[in-house]
Amino acid sequence: MARRENSEINAGSMADIAFLLLIFFLVTTTMDVDSGISRKLPEKTDETPQVIIKEKNVLDIVVNRKNQLLIENEFVQVTDIKRLAMNFVDNGGGESTAIDGKPAAPCDYCNGAKDPASSDHPTKAIISLQSDRGTSYGMYVSIQNEIEGAYNELRNKLALKKYKRSYKDLLDDYKNSGLESLKVKIDFLKDSYPQIISEPEPIK
């Protein structure tokens, strides 16, 4: 009588198979997370509405093809942009525009110098970035980054004062919870310091 024995399957090669798969995934994997500076382009309209903007409400940033910077006709470095932009936006020297039935009012949350020669109100302050076609992209991104940084810091200051939380915390919390009350707060901060960036046609 031949007794059939249930011989166990040899699992010794399991490790080898797993290693092979492991090496395959190791090679094909890319762990890069796509992150960047997000911007919303202005919509294209057929008729351009004529808006009269006071010279003092515009911060002129000009960059030439040698990557040299000019802010309000003064030669500056990239690292100065943030401070200058913050001073400009947060100045609060005048009154806001009356919209949606809200009367024009002076900025009650600004900490700026209230210089009458600088911007009236954060909602009126426009940053204009005029670049040259030959400017390097790295420079361009650096400037965008500094402007973004200026707005983020201003929003952060207001968030700390008003809600005792940092702006980044609020954004993170909203992303995790999606609470409507947080959205109201974030929208308020964004409306207090709206990003108004204008990019005129580049210098040829």
Binding site: A11, M14, A15, A18, F19, L21, L22, F25, L26, T28, T29, T30, M31, V33, D34, S35, G36, I37, S38, R39, K40, L41, P42, E43, K44, N67, V78, T79, S131, D132, R133, G134, T135, S136, Y137, G138, M139, Y140, V141, S142, Q144, N145, E146, E148, G149, N152, E199, P202
Partner: protein
């Protein structure tokens, strides 16, 4: 006395029985985190600029990527624009976006983002051309792809 002398010296062999488990664990980790390479670079891989105020791009399936960089052939100067696996002109960007839109459902279109992965040495003119084309077809959400870091000086 001979009893003691019989004791063998040396360490016992390390058990390798748990090796497959460890390897499998690593394997699953890489299987989960992996994203397959989708595009082959026809142009030189762009060296992204550094920025500190970055936002992570949400919903990767709704992102269409445009690469800008130098040609692999060093004799050809100027910036080249690559989408998918081919080099295109700035004026062909709209047709690329339309093709991308056709792959998504209608209500997803407004959440679509265009990610521009450009070399830090590329000229702003090329980028502005792309931006102008994107404006024409109402693809308004864009993201300048960067690496996160604080050393902005290295950009220029």
């Amino acid at each position: 006395m001979s009893k003691f002398k019989k004791k063998k010296k040396g360490l016992p062999a390390i058990s390798t029985a748990s090796l497959p488990d460890i390897v499998f664990m690593l394997l699953f980790f890489f299987m989960v985190t992996t994203t397959m390479r989708e595009t082959d670079m026809v142009i030189l891989k762009p060296v992204l600029p550094t920025a500190s105020e970055v936002k992570k791009l949400e919903m990767k399936s709704l992102v269409s990527t445009i690469y800008v960089g130098k040609s692999k052939d060093s004799r050809i100067s100027g910036d080249k624009i690559q989408v998918n696996d081919k080099i295109i002109d700035a004026k062909d960007v709209p047709s690329f976006i339309f093709a991308e839109r056709a792959l998504r459902s209608e209500d997803e279109v407004k959440y679509m983002t265009t990610s521009i992965k450009a070399d830090k040495g590329a000229s702003v003119g090329t980028i502005l051309d792309i931006k102008e084309q994107l404006r024409d077809i109402n693809a308004l959400k864009i993201s300048f792809s960067t690496t996160k870091g604080s050393n902005i000086k290295a950009n220029y």
